[in-house]
């Protein structure tokens, strides 16, 4: 699955990185990076939690 970040919404709060540091990373520039282009289906629960916990609803699964 592909995870996308809406840059106009993301505020780099880092909740997603706290849930799945291997998938999400706030870089030194303060911007969120999605670390895997194709996230394995086995990680769906973490990704869904990251999407629902995002304070600015900036994450979604495509």
């Amino acid at each position: 699955m592909k995870v996308v970040v809406d840059r106009s919404r993301c505020s780099s709060i880092g909740m997603c990185e706290a849930i799945a540091p291997d998938l999400f990373e706030i870089g030194p520039d303060g911007a969120l990076h999605i670390l895997q282009d194709d996230v394995p289906e086995s990680r769906r629960a973490d990704v869904e939690q990251a999407c629902s916990d995002c304070p600015t609803q900036a994450l979604s699964i495509q």
């Binding site: 505020s11 780099s12 709060i13 880092g14 540091p21 990373e25 870089g27 303060g30 304070p55």
Partner: protein, 425 residues
């Protein structure tokens, strides 16, 4: 929905959560009142808190949000409930707000841009990189008490762990650390005569801000000449909307970082040791597998301590919350200590359960844009400190009752005696 009453017309709830007496009691006593409110009147209007700092004739009261679900909702509606009017119960002179509350008392879009400057320093990965420093700081603090047998745990352990770690990150050298940690107590501790020692509250808070800003400016000028790998340098070099931050903005952010960095983990560490003393079975369970069980223990200690008891928002416009009409300009106070005892979310919240899972406490916030920037730092510090203490001073325990603060913001332990068998060298 209830009829729209103006602030002046609204009747006050009979429960007292505004007086200094209420805030001078214990968390256990306050919980009796919060339990009643959660059950019967989860959103309630109260008389203004006794201030003592700054009389605001327009302050007619506040809404109390005491349930977990409602607190999370307020947290996640930052467009309806603003932080820019201040995040403390009390009204504050604007200058004080600007000087002392940094980006915590800001709203988007400015908040987003400022917070982003600091975000990468507090990520789980970045903190994993500096974990050895955090562990070394815990070790050196325990080294210094290990042969004493009895200490004021707050002054000699709980205050020092976060002081060294946040100062390492921000870039504050050794000679300024104790001053910084001491002064950082006043923005919440002004109500406490033991801390004030006769000073006039507003003047003493202003003095604390001036002292800290003086140190901040000295460091800012030093980093402009010679950049280092620290947060002051990051702030000095940062650009927001193509402009450098002003000295005033840097000082305000600096002040926020040291208060948020010092006065939170200090309380969690103190309440944590008291909890481990009061619940020996839980402690024994933890000791059976210290490495494996510490992460869940840390979460429960943070819930138990709830180092920040309240945050305020201000209604941006007329809006609805839990069936009540909240009018523009109303103060809305979230009570974290109450939400963390909500039986809708926690089984037997009155018991320390170090294995609690899931543990959806709100001690770091309810998951909004102001969610604790330092949550991962706090977790690592508590982990390192309790690991060091329980391994090297396995019988360390609290003697007598802690001396508590009387503020409505930090859940302060002023002092607390701990005893232990001195470590053999």
């Amino acid at each position: 929905m209830t009829a729209a009453l103006t602030r002046a017309e609204r009747p006050y709830d009979p429960a007292d959560i505004s007086s200094l007496e209420f805030w001078s009691s214990t968390a256990k006593d306050r919980e009796k009142v919060f339990a009643e409110l959660r059950a019967d009147r989860p959103i309630s209007w109260h008389r203004p808190v006794k201030n003592g700092l700054f009389e605001d004739p327009n302050d007619q009261g506040f809404w109390a949000v005491v349930r977990h679900a409602d607190l999370v909702e307020v947290t996640r509606r930052p467009g309806d409930f603003l932080s820019g009017e201040g995040i403390l119960f009390e009204s504050m002179p604007k200058e004080l707000l600007d000087a002392g509350q940094g980006f915590i008392a800001m709203d988007p879009p400015r908040h987003t841009k400022i917070r982003r400057l600091l975000a990468s320093a507090f990520t789980p990965k970045q903190l994993a990189r500096i974990d050895e420093h955090i562990v070394a700081n815990a070790r050196r603090i325990v080294d210094d008490i290990a042969d004493k047998g009895e200490v004021d745990f707050v002054a000699e352990v709980a205050a020092l762990v976060p002081m060294h770690n946040i100062c390492d990150m921000v870039g504050i050298p050794e000679e300024h650390r104790r001053t910084i940690a001491y002064e950082s107590q006043f923005p919440d501790g002004w109500r406490d005569p033991r801390l004030l020692q006769g000073a006039e509250p507003l003047a003493r808070v202003a003095q604390a801000i001036l002292t800290v800003h003086g140190i901040a400016m000295e460091l800012v000028e030093a980093r402009r000449r010679k950049p280092e790998d620290d947060l002051i340098t990051a702030l000095v070099q940062a650009e927001v909307d193509g402009e450098r931050l002003t000295d005033e903005e840097i000082c305000s952010i600096f002040f926020l970082l040291i208060i948020a960095g010092n006065d939170t983990t200090r309380q969690s560490t103190s309440h944590g040791l008291k909890a481990l003393t009061d619940f020996p079975d839980q402690r024994a369970w933890l000791m059976e597998d210290l490495d494996g069980r510490m992460p869940s223990a840390v979460e429960e200690i943070v819930r138990w301590a709830t180092p920040i008891m309240t945050f305020r928002r201000t209604a941006a416009h007329d809006t609805e919350l839990g069936g009540h009409l909240i009018t523009e300009g109303d103060k809305v106070i979230m009570f974290y200590s109450s939400a963390n005892m909500d039986t809708e979310v926690f089984d037997h919240p009155e018991l320390l359960d170090l294995s609690r899972s899931p543990n959806k406490h709100v001690a770091f916030g309810g998951g909004g844009i102001h969610h604790c920037l330092g949550a991962q730092l706090a977790r690592r510090q508590l982990n390192a400190t309790f690991r060091e203490l329980l391994t090297r001073l396995p019988d360390i325990h609290v003697v007598g009752e802690p001396e508590l603060g009387n503020g409505n913001f930090f859940h302060t332990v002023m002092s607390m005696t701990a005893q232990f068998t001195p470590e053999k060298r």
